[in-house]
Amino acid sequence: MVEPATATQAAAPAVPQLKDELDIVIPTIRNLDFLEMWRPFFKPYHLIIVQDGDPSKTIKVPDGFDYELYNRNDINRILGPKASCISFKDSACRCFGYLVSKKKYIFTIDDDCFVAKDPSGKAINALEQHIKNLLSPSTPFFFNTLYDPFREGADFVRGYPFSLREGVPTAVSHGLWLNIPDYDAPTQLVKPLERNTRFVDAVLTIPKGTLFPMCGMNLAFDRELIGPAMYFGLMGDGQPIGRYDDMWAGWCTKVICDHLGLGVKTGLPYIFHSKASNPFVNLRKEYKGIFWQEEIIPFFQQAVLPKDCTTVQKCYIELAKQVKDKLSKVDPYFDKLAEAMVTWIEAWDELNPTGASVPNGKTA
C-alpha cells in the first residue's frame, strides 16, 4: 500500500536550486488545495497558474505563493486570434504557461499529484530531482546498463566508449507516478484496482531513435533548449480527441531532441497520483486516438528532419509540414493540428523575441 507524504513530512531544502530560473506551471479547473502539501518544496519558486474552464470563476491560490494566474480571457487577450491554438476544457491549456514564462526551466505538475514517499518513508522532493536530472548530462547514444551514470554511486559500465562519456545537454526530465498509474481507458476499465507500488530507483536516458509516451503530470524541461516543441496540441472543447496532448508533445519533442542532439531522461522523481479519472469519460476522449496512434507512431518513427533545421522552431515548422502532408489523410483533424502547430510557433516567437534564430536551441 503506497501512501502520500503528509504536509508535515516534507522538509524544505536548505538551498532551493534555480529558484529564479524556474517556473512551475499548473493547469487547474477546480482548486489548488494540493499546493499546501507541496509548500515546503514549491514556496521559493514562481508559479504560473493556467485556469481552464469558466473564466468568471475565481480560483483561490493558497497564501504565501508568488504567482501569476491566467484564465481564458487573459489567454484571448494576450494572444488575440492566435489563442485558437490553445485548448479549452483540457489540461493541454497548460502550454500557454510555457509560452508566457520568462524563465529557463519549467516544471509542470497536475493538481491531483501529491508528494510521494520513497521506500525509506522520506518525502520526495520531486522538483529537486527534476533539477538534478536537467543539470546533469544525458547519454542517448549508448545505453548504460547501470542507468544514469551521473547519479551518485553510479558510473559508466565497462565497454562504454570514453568519447561518449561527456553526454549531451538534458532537455527533458520525465517523472513517474506511484499509486494511480497513467493507464489508458481500456486498461483502466480492465484493471480498475491496479496501483503502482513499485519504486524503481533509476533515472535513465531514452536512447536516440526511440519514442516514448510522455506524460505531462510530472514533467520538467529546459525551456531554452526545447520550449517551442512543447506544444500540447488541440484537445478538449470542439476537438475530436482528448488525453493525447502530452503524448503529441512528447513525440514531437523526442524527434526534435534526437535531431538536435539533446537528451530526454525518464524515471525518478515519483509523485503520488491521487485521483483516478473516470475511465468511461476517458474512453470517449481517447477513442479516436487509440486508432490514430497506430498511424501516428510510424509517422514519428520515420520522420526525418533536414540538416538545415538547426533551431527548435525550424524543426517544429518542418514537422508541422510533414504532419499536414502525411497525416491529413488519417483525419482532417491533423490539418487543423498542423496549422495550430504553426500558429503556436508564431505565438512563441512573438512572446519570446530573443533566441528565435539561435542554432540548436542554445541561448543567444
Partner: protein, 352 residues
C-alpha cells in the same frame, strides 16, 4: 502471456577460472540444484576442480575441449572464454551463465534473489523493443503498458537475451574503478527493461541468460585482447559478443532485456594493476561502437548463423586493417559459425 519453460530445457553453464568452487556452488545450491549444470574448466587452470556433491552436472576440461574442437580453430577457449565451450556442447534450449565469483544477492527487502528464476521469467515473457514503456517491463506483476503505448505493439517480441546486473563490485572498466577504488554498487533498481531496437548496449557477460536455439551462435569467443587476463577488467570478449547479440537480435526482431536479476559480485583483484597491464581494450571501444552502430545485415540473413557470418565479414572488411586483433576476431567468428554448425547443432551431446 508467458512461455512455459521447463527445468529440463535449461543448462546452467559456469566457466571455472578458480579451482575451488565449493562455496560458490553451495551458495547457489537452492537456485541451481533443480537444473543440469555444465562446468567448463579454464584450460590454463592447473589445479583440480573442487566441486561439492549433489548436483547434476557435466564437467569439461582441456582434453575434452581439444577432442571436440581440435586444433583446427583460431578460437582460444581459455580464461573467461572457456564457458563458450559449454554453450557449444549444451543441448538445452536455454542457457543461464554467470561468473564464478558471483553469489546470490539480496533484494531491497532482504530476501535472497533467485537469479535463475528471474532470468527464466525474463526469457519467458515478451520484450518490447519498438516503443519505450515508461513503467518498464509491462509483463511484470502489478504493471502494464502506459497511456500512449500503441496497441499493435503490445504483444511484444520473443526475448532472446537477458542481461542481469551486479551489486557490490559493479562491472566498471579498470580506469573507472581505479579512480573510485572504494565505489561499490548498493543501488538495487527493481526493474527489467527491454533495450530499445537500434540502441546499442555494453552487454556484460557476468550474469546472463539466453535462448540458445535462437541466438546461440551470436554468443562468441572472438575478441581477445593482447593482454587478456583472468579479471573482467582485462577482457572485452563479452562486450564484443554482446554487441553481436544485440545487432543480431535487432535484425531478427528479437528482444534483449536488462536489469533484474542482481547477483552479488565479490571483490577480487586490483583495478590499478589491471589497468597497468591491459588498457588497450578501453581504447578499442572507440572503433568497435561506431562499427556496430553502422553494420547492416541483409534481408537474406534469417538465422543467427547467417547474421554472425555477415558481421564477421564486415569486421574483416572494415576493421581488419585497423588492428590485427579485429582480423583475428573476424576469423574466430567465422570459425565459430563452422563449429556451431558441426558441433553445436547436432542432436546429441559429444560424449567425452
Amino acid at each position: 502471456m508467458s512461455l512455459a519453460i521447463k527445468d529440463d530445457e535449461i543448462d546452467v553453464v559456469i566457466g571455472a577460472l578458480r579451482s575451488d568452487l565449493t562455496s560458490f556452488m553451495n551458495e547457489w545450491r537452492p537456485m541451481f540444484s533443480r537444473f543440469h549444470l555444465i562446468i567448463v574448466k579454464d584450460p590454463d587452470l592447473k589445479e583440480e576442480l573442487k566441486i561439492p556433491e549433489g548436483f547434476n552436472l557435466d564437467v569439461y576440461k582441456k582434453p575434452d575441449i581439444d577432442q571436440v574442437v581440435g586444433s583446427s580453430t583460431a578460437i582460444i577457449f581459455s580464461g573467461y572464454s572457456c564457458r563458450y565451450f559449454g554453450y557449444l556442447v549444451s543441448r538445452k534450449k536455454y542457457i543461464i551463465s554467470m561468473d564464478d565469483d558471483c553469489l546470490p544477492a539480496r533484494d531491497n527487502k532482504g530476501f535472497l534473489v533467485d537469479a535463475v528464476a528471474q532470468h527464466i521469467t525474463n526469457l519467458a515473457t515478451p520484450a518490447t523493443p519498438f516503443f519505450f514503456n515508461t513503467l518498464y517491463d509491462p509483463f511484470s506483476e502489478g504493471v502494464d503498458f502506459v497511456r500512449g503505448y500503441p496497441f499493435s505493439l503490445r504483444s511484444g517480441v520473443k526475448c532472446a537475451f537477458s542481461c542481469g546486473l551486479w551489486l557490490n563490485l559493479a562491472d566498471h572498466d579498470a580506469p573507472t574503478q581505479a579512480l573510485k577504488p572504494g565505489q561499490r554498487n548498493s543501488r538495487y533498481v527493481d526493474a527489467v527493461i527491454t533495450v530499445p531496437v537500434r540502441a546499442l548496449v555494453p552487454v556484460s557477460g557476468i550474469n546472463i541468460a539466453f535462448d540458445r536455439e535462437v541466438v546461440g551462435p551470436a554468443l562468441l569467443p572472438a575478441l581477445r585482447l593482447a593482454g587478456e587476463g583472468k579479471f573482467r577488467w582485462e577482457t572485452m570478449e563479452d562486450i564484443w559478443s554482446g554487441m553481436c547479440v544485440k545487432v543480431v537480435c535487432d535484425h531478427l526482431g528479437l528482444g534483449v532485456k536488462t536489469g533484474l536479476p542482481y547477483v552479488w559480485r565479490n571483490d577480487r583483484g586490483d583495478a590499478i594493476a589491471s589497468l597497468k597491464k591491459e588498457w588497450e581494450g578501453v581504447k578499442l571501444m572507440e572503433e568497435v561502437v561506431p562499427f556496430f552502430q553502422s553494420v547492416r545485415l541483409p534481408r537474406e540473413a534469417t538465422t543467427a548463423e547467417d547474421c554472425v557470418f555477415e558481421v564477421a565479414n564486415a569486421v574483416k572488411e572494415q576493421l581488419g586493417s585497423r588492428d590485427p586483433m579485429f582480423a583475428r576476431a573476424a576469423t574466430a567468428m567465422l570459425d565459430w559459425v563452422k563449429l556451431w554448425k558441426s558441433v553445436g547443432s547436432s542432436s546429441s551431446s559429444p560424449r567425452v
